[in-house]
């Protein structure tokens, strides 16, 4: 009875909802993050059904590819104790229930209020067949100024991150890469021919300065 499109929609919608439930129900934070990835991929499928293929791509590329990988990285680096996370669950439960009921009531009020139906327009009307091309053609022409401003914003983020984190430690010993790559084998190893009869003649490598570990100024 169902059309193909609605079958696909229900498939993705079910996947999104169950993955979202998984995010909050599983106890292991790594699994929760992976469920979030699944929710993102499934909602990207819903975007595709709406002919918003650019948004779908960006969702997968940016959120799944970059943000969630970073998130997983952080989760794996942190030492998370699940027992401490669960502490106080029953104590906070009544408060959580009150908030959940309030939110649910608000959502129901908004959805059933006829006032708000007139505000929501038809979103798909604005989308053309090829919205990647449409976005690309306005991004560098009409939206040049905000686009450039966004790029300056990213530049500032880089500058600020470097300014806040780069520091010179005084007591660290490190190897200067420039002198390190310029060393020759003769600086390090001196081949001496050893004969049984003669006693060994030791001497230090000829050029002592190159490749030596040194302190910064």
């Amino acid at each position: 009875m169902f059309e193909f499109e609605s079958i696909v929609f229900y498939f993705f919608a079910f996947l999104t909802l169950s993955a979202a439930l998984g995010v909050i129900l599983v106890s292991n934070p790594i699994y929760a993050a992976l469920f979030l990835v699944l929710a993102f991929v499934a909602s990207a499928g819903i975007w595709l059904l709406l002919y918003a293929e650019f948004l779908a791509m960006v969702l997968v590329l940016v959120y799944v590819g970059a943000v969630m990988v970073l998130f997983l990285f952080v989760l794996m680096m942190l030492d998370i104790n699940i027992d401490t996370l669960r502490e106080g669950f029953w104590r906070y439960l009544p408060f959580a229930v009150i908030i959940a009921v309030l939110f649910a009531a608000e959502i129901i009020l908004v959805l059933t209020n006829p006032k708000f139906t007139s505000v929501v327009g038809d979103a798909s009307a604005a989308l053309t067949d090829d919205n990647t091309r449409a976005l690309g053609s306005v991004l560098y022409t009409e939206y040049l100024y905000p686009f450039e401003l966004a790029s300056v914003l990213l530049l500032v983020a880089i500058v600020a991150a470097v300014a806040l984190t780069l520091r010179r430690r005084i007591n660290t010993r490190y190897i200067n890469p420039a002198t390190q790559v310029q060393t020759k084998p003769t600086d390090r190893v001196r081949l001496v021919s050893v004969t049984k009869e003669s006693p060994l003649q030791f001497s230090s490598p000829s050029n002592d300065k190159k490749g030596k570990t040194s302190c910064p100024d």
């Binding site: 006032k115 007139s118 505000v119 009409e142 905000p146 530049l155």
Partner: protein
């Protein structure tokens, strides 16, 4: 809307951007001994840009960059003020930056990028460019406050500012999304046009628009530091290194005023009754909270922060009464006085210790008469005593409030300012009528440049208090060419 590019209209922004990039590169390749020259080069370019902006005030409005950018009287005057305030605060802070070990290219580049964000706000004809400018400005400010990482109070201030600033941005963005949802437009002129042609019977859209107004006013109130959205301000002003406080106390306020002048009267002229009421609450609460809480402060930076809250009340009064020129004059006078006030703190903390407690001001008249006289002039001016510039600024704002028909509001503002006069006068009493503690009563010797700057600020405050006519007509002209 206009679909032409006309990038030349944004020459000042492009110039500041190039200057910021040049500073970063120069700092990378030049040796440390060049930093002083780099610092002066930045100040010189800021002054040049400020002069160019002020010179462009009388020009006809230009809409450029596909309707995202507008260069009209307000934007040019505001840009000139922002650039001059930034240049002034850099002039005051050179030595203190060295003491705080943040005298480097990163600091200058972040200041320039932050100024760029403020310029973008001033010239925004579109809510998208307005928001991007706001974020550009704020991100730089968070980083500037946190630059001294080993200083825990600075890090705390940065985190507080970041969290509350992000919240304010979110609220503003939420409001903008509602305006967009109701009108389908983001261009400021288009929003006003769409609201004017709205179907009167459609109450749902009006409800959404009013919600949008509430959220945008809240977001802008946060950024201006008006009560009840002022909680971050005292902690940030106190925690940040003094030269950074000097910068964030002056220029961002001017940008926040520009944002209010852009969004409220220009995009939402038909909701004037709604936002006027909200601004009245904001103004009276700011005046009350600022003036009354400042009495209890023992730290000079904190006291000046609460005084800034009170001053933002007057700026809001100027906006709500439709006196764009009065608000611009007030914010210019405020920037001048606040640079002087925090400049004194910067200069006094030279000995390695920050002398920002009120007790440190005791007997200042014997220790350095110039500092004492300058602080006295600044305090009298902030309190609104004639013949200083602060009096004229308060007078013009009150004039425009009364001519808008809100006499009770003007009376309330005056009464609360009288309360504020107490803590300004207390500092004068400490400086002139009490003697310094025996442990710390040596004469304070300032460098010649510091003496010169303090004297210049004092002379300007007196000069524009005696002869405000040119400046007033200038800002009235700026506010009228929209």
């Amino acid at each position: 809307m206009q679909s032409s590019l006309l990038w030349q209209a944004a020459s000042i922004e492009i110039f500041i951007f190039i200057a910021a990039c040049a500073v970063m590169l120069a700092d990378l390749f030049l040796s440390i001994s060049w930093r002083t020259r780099l610092h002066w080069a930045v100040i010189a370019s800021l002054w040049v840009a400020a002069a160019a902006s002020f010179a462009a005030v009388g020009n006809d409005p230009i809409v450029a960059l596909h309707g995202f950018y507008v260069a009209d009287g307000i934007s040019n005057a505001v840009k000139g003020l922002i650039l001059a305030a930034a240049a002034g605060s850099l002039m005051f802070s050179r030595h203190a930056l060295r003491v705080n070990r943040i005298f480097n290219g990163d600091f200058l580049a972040l200041v320039l990028f932050s100024v760029l964000g403020m310029l973008v706000i001033a010239s925004a004809a579109h809510l998208l460019s307005l928001y991007l400018g706001l974020e550009l400005m704020s991100l730089c400010l968070y980083a500037l406050i946190a630059m001294r990482r080993e200083n825990t109070s600075a890090s705390e201030a940065a985190i507080k500012y970041f969290v509350l600033g992000a919240l304010a941005s979110g609220l503003l963005l939420y409001g903008i999304s509602m305006l967009y949802g109701a009108t389908g437009k983001l261009n400021i002129a288009d929003i006003a046009y769409a609201i004017a042609n709205l179907d009167e019977t459609n109450t749902a859209i009006r409800a959404v628009l009013i919600l949008g107004v509430v959220f945008t006013v809240t977001g802008m109130g946060f950024k201006l530091g008006a009560a009840p959205f002022h909680m971050w301000l005292p902690d940030v002003y106190q925690g940040a290194p003094a030269p950074v406080t000097l910068f964030i106390a002056a220029a961002p306020k001017i940008a926040a005023l520009a944002m209010m002048l852009r969004v409220l009267p220009q995009a939402l002229p038909l909701f004037v009754n709604d936002w006027q009421q909200m601004l009245m609450v904001l103004a009276l609460m700011s005046l009350a909270v600022g003036n009354i809480t400042a009495i209890a402060q023992t730290n000079l930076k904190r006291m000046l922060a609460y005084s800034a809250i009170a001053h933002s009340g007057f700026i809001v009064l100027g906006v709500l009464s439709g006196g764009g020129g009065a608000a611009l004059f007030y914010v210019a006078a405020y920037a001048l006085m606040t640079i002087g006030g925090f400049g004194v703190i910067v200069f006094l903390s030279i000995g390695g210790r920050e002398r920002a407690e009120l007790a440190d001001m005791r007997g200042m008249a014997q220790r350095n008469w110039l500092v004492a006289t300058t602080v006295a002039i600044l305090m009298l001016s902030m309190a609104g005593v004639p013949p200083f510039v602060g009096f004229i600024a308060k007078l013009t704002v009150l004039e425009s409030v009364i001519s808008a028909g809100f006499i009770w509001l003007a009376v309330g503002a005056v009464l609360l300012s009288v309360v504020g006069a107490f803590y300004y006068l207390r500092i004068i009493r400490l400086m002139f009528f009490e003697s310094a503690p025996a442990s710390d009563n040596k004469a304070i010797v300032l460098r010649p440049s510091a003496t010169l700057l303090l004297a210049a600020i004092a002379i300007l405050v007196v000069w524009y208090g005696l002869f405000p006519g040119d400046l007033l007509t200038f800002f009235e002209l700026a506010a009228s060419t929209i």
